[in-house]
């Protein structure tokens, strides 16, 4: 696919960061287009947060270069910070300030023109105008998250970096949150979001998966699934736990996962997998090949990564 560079909001190569002797982020490239929602996935401690911090200028990469919003990530972090909204994993606004004071403070820091109006508008959009004088610390988790998002947006950034924004938020609030993210993206805002949730990953336009600091896969959901080359069989029948025990460890069988009343068995070598499963393909069980899901793919990637890098 040919892309003009001006379309790329994030365009970095070879980003590397070491803490002590440990490489936390290893040679990671990333290209994100304008208006795109880019999902950044990986297990805990895989270097996602460190990567985000390097993008917004909080950390300096040990190696690698590139541009974010057209600014050099090494030399122009000041300009980048002005145009990026970064939402940290933990609620990191002031709990002893009111909702309004928090928004006003952020607006002041960014030098938002007509601050008063901007804060009022933001409060209105949040639906918190009536509770503006409430201390932020007294808000529930979902509301805190909405406040944090509003604070990140008050200076009208061109790029939004969200670090696990929906951790600990109930499903309804999560859905509303994603609704808003899609609206913002439709209006031209670029969003880079880290998450653990597969349903959220599937809501992203494109994905990157990293584990142990290494980029393992990237592309659209379909591309990632396809690239993994995983074959998955679904089986139903009597006494599945016993079957799972027997199948696990057979050559070619990489994952055996219970999904409700079924078992999903996946492996990258389709032929070997079929061969190993053959003894149980009797009338007692109903077998059918299914499409591998993202979760199968990510678990497979993670296990491969563990073998290769850790």
């Amino acid at each position: 696919m040919v892309m003009s560079t001006s379309d790329l909001v994030i365009d970095v190569q070879g980003i590397t960061k070491r803490f002590g002797g440990r490489t936390v982020v290893n040679n990671i490239p990333m290209q994100v287009r304008r208006g795109e929602i880019y999902g950044f996935l990986g297990p805990n401690g895989s270097g996602k947060t460190t990567f985000l911090r390097m993008l917004c200028g909080l950390l300096t990469p040990d190696a690698g270069s590139g541009r974010c919003l057209g600014y050099d990530i090494r030399r122009e972090s000041g300009e980048i910070k002005k145009n990026v909204g970064y939402m940290t994993q933990r609620f990191s606004f002031y709990e002893d300030l009111t909702i309004e004071e928090n928004l006003d403070f952020v607006a002041q820091i960014y030098g938002v023109p007509q601050r008063k109006t901007a804060v009022d508008k933001s409060l209105e959009r949040l639906g918190l105008t009536a509770r503006r004088r409430q201390l932020a610390g007294t808000l529930s988790g979902g509301w805190k998250q909405r406040l944090a998002l509003a604070a990140c947006l008050i200076h009208e950034p061109r790029l939004l970096l969200l670090d696990e924004p929906t951790a600990g938020v109930d499903p309804k609030a999560r859905r509303d949150f994603w609704e808003e993210i899609h609206q913002l993206a439709a209006a031209g805002l670029t969003v880079l979001i880290t998450t653990h949730y597969m349903d959220e990953a599937e809501r992203c336009h494109r994905l990157a998966y990293i584990a142990y600091g290494n980029l393992l896969a990237r592309g659209s959901v379909e591309e990632v699934v396809q690239a993994a080359g995983l074959t998955t069989w679904e089986v139903t029948g009597p006494d599945l736990p016993a079957l799972a025990e027997k199948i696990r460890g057979q050559p070619g069988v990489e994952q055996v996962v219970a999904f409700g009343m079924t078992l999903h068995i996946s492996g990258r070598d389709a032929g070997k997998l079929r061969e190993s499963l053959n003894p149980w393909m009797t009338d007692a069980y109903q077998w059918q090949p299914i499409e591998s899901g993202l979760e199968h793919v990510f678990i497979s990637l993670m296990e491969t990564a563990r073998d290769n890098f850790s």
Binding site: G57, G78, V84, F91, S92, F93, E95, D96, Y110
Partner: protein, 379 residues
């Protein structure tokens, strides 16, 4: 690298935020004003290194005009309050042991007889000297008393028994605080003690709290520069420091009537150096401390030697050399000299300058450690 540009708008945003937080945190704010007041009352009114009216027992086996004059003289010195008249030596020992009295005066049976014979009788003054500073002045007063108290009674034919005049007259001028008024020394010194304590604890806490709650990361992802954040966070506390200074100056002047001889404005200007030196310690501690509890512990770790070795509580020159050497490093030691010098002695800038550069040196060293460590914590 782009030239560092200090942005006043962002700086004021942080100052404003800090003031709001200070106002919300009633307990800490109360502590910042309450501790000075409490210390003023405790140290100012309660501490007295020249105690008077000490409880005294008098056992007089000699009922004469002379023994009565001696007792009267003791009373009159204002150091001794005769509250007990024990009947025998055992009673005296019991009273001293139980702490009922600080002194016991034992006038022997043949006191007046020996006196009249010119035999220089003994007069026993027993003291509970567990706390040396409590009895020192009183004993000095008795020594002086012994040569003169009986002169009024030894007249006429007895005049020959009067103490011989010393070969020379010793003239003592106690400068700056002739009445040995402890408050004159303590209250100005309190300014330094209080600034050390609050400035270090409060800055260390304010910065550690920001990191502990994760708000520092958020703040630094905005265009706000580390310098703006740092200075914006400490300026409100400089204001608090000055509020404390004025509280103490007011108390010194109107509650304790400390003579303010020197220039208050000079003191106010020089205090800035000291305040910033302490803030630098607070910043350095905040870069080491992992949480607020550790920050407070470290602040006390610094505060205690400051209190003990600076010459605030105990005479600086009374300490062994190694302790004096440690004391010389601490900014409080020098600031105490500056404050007492300006307020009590009327010192000018030239007089206090030998104590300014050690504070400045301390500030430079601390600040460079603090800034270096602060940078590391970001990356």
């Amino acid at each position: 690298m782009k030239l560092y540009q200090f942005n006043w708008r962002r700086f004021w945003a942080i100052v404003g935020k800090e003031f709001i937080q200070m106002r919300r945190d009633r307990l800490t704010f109360g502590m910042m004003v309450g501790i000075p007041l409490l210390q003023l009352v405790l140290f100012g009114y309660a501490i007295n290194s020249d105690p008077k009216h000490l409880p005294t027992a008098v056992y007089s086996a000699d009922n004469s005009v002379f023994s009565r004059t001696v007792v009267w003289g003791l009373r009159n010195s204002s150091y001794f309050d005769v509250i007990r008249e024990p009947r025998n030596e055992a009673d005296i020992q019991k009273m001293l042991a139980q702490g009922t009295v600080q002194f016991a005066v034992d006038i022997p049976v043949d006191f007046s007889r020996k006196l009249l014979r010119g035999e220089q009788p003994d007069l026993l003054l027993e003291a509970d000297a567990t706390d040396p500073s409590a009895v020192g002045y009183a004993i000095a007063a008795v020594n002086q008393l012994s040569t003169t108290v009986l002169n009024r009674d030894l007249i006429g034919p007895l005049a020959g028994l009067q103490g011989a005049p010393p070969p020379f007259n010793l003239v003592v001028h106690q400068h700056y605080n002739p009445e040995n008024n402890t408050q004159y020394n303590i209250v100005p010194g309190l300014m330094g003690v209080m600034l050390t304590m609050t400035m270090i604890i409060i800055t260390a806490l304010a910065i550690t709290r920001e990191r502990e709650r994760g708000t520092m990361e958020n703040l630094l992802s905005t265009p706000a520069r580390p310098g703006e954040v740092m200075i914006g966070k400490i300026v409100p506390y400089i204001t608090v420091g000055y509020i404390q200074i004025f509280l103490i100056l007011l108390a010194a002047r109107y509650l304790f009537s400390v003579p303010i001889v020197g220039s208050v404005s000079l003191l106010v200007v020089l205090a800035f150096l000291f305040i910033v030196a302490n803030l630098a310690v607070g910043i350095t501690f905040s870069t080491i401390a992992k949480n607020q509890l550790q920050a407070v512990q470290m602040a006390f770790f610094f505060f205690l030697p400051s209190l003990l070795l600076s010459g605030y509580m105990f005479p600086f020159r009374g300490m062994p050399v190694w302790a004096q050497d440690i004391g010389e490093i601490l900014p409080l030691t020098h600031f105490l000299r500056v404050v007492r010098g300006i307020l009590l002695k009327g010192n000018g800038l030239v007089d206090v300058s030998p104590d300014l550069w050690p504070i400045a040196l301390f500030l430079v060293v601390m600040l460079s450690i603090g800034i270096k460590r602060y940078r590391q914590t970001l990356d």
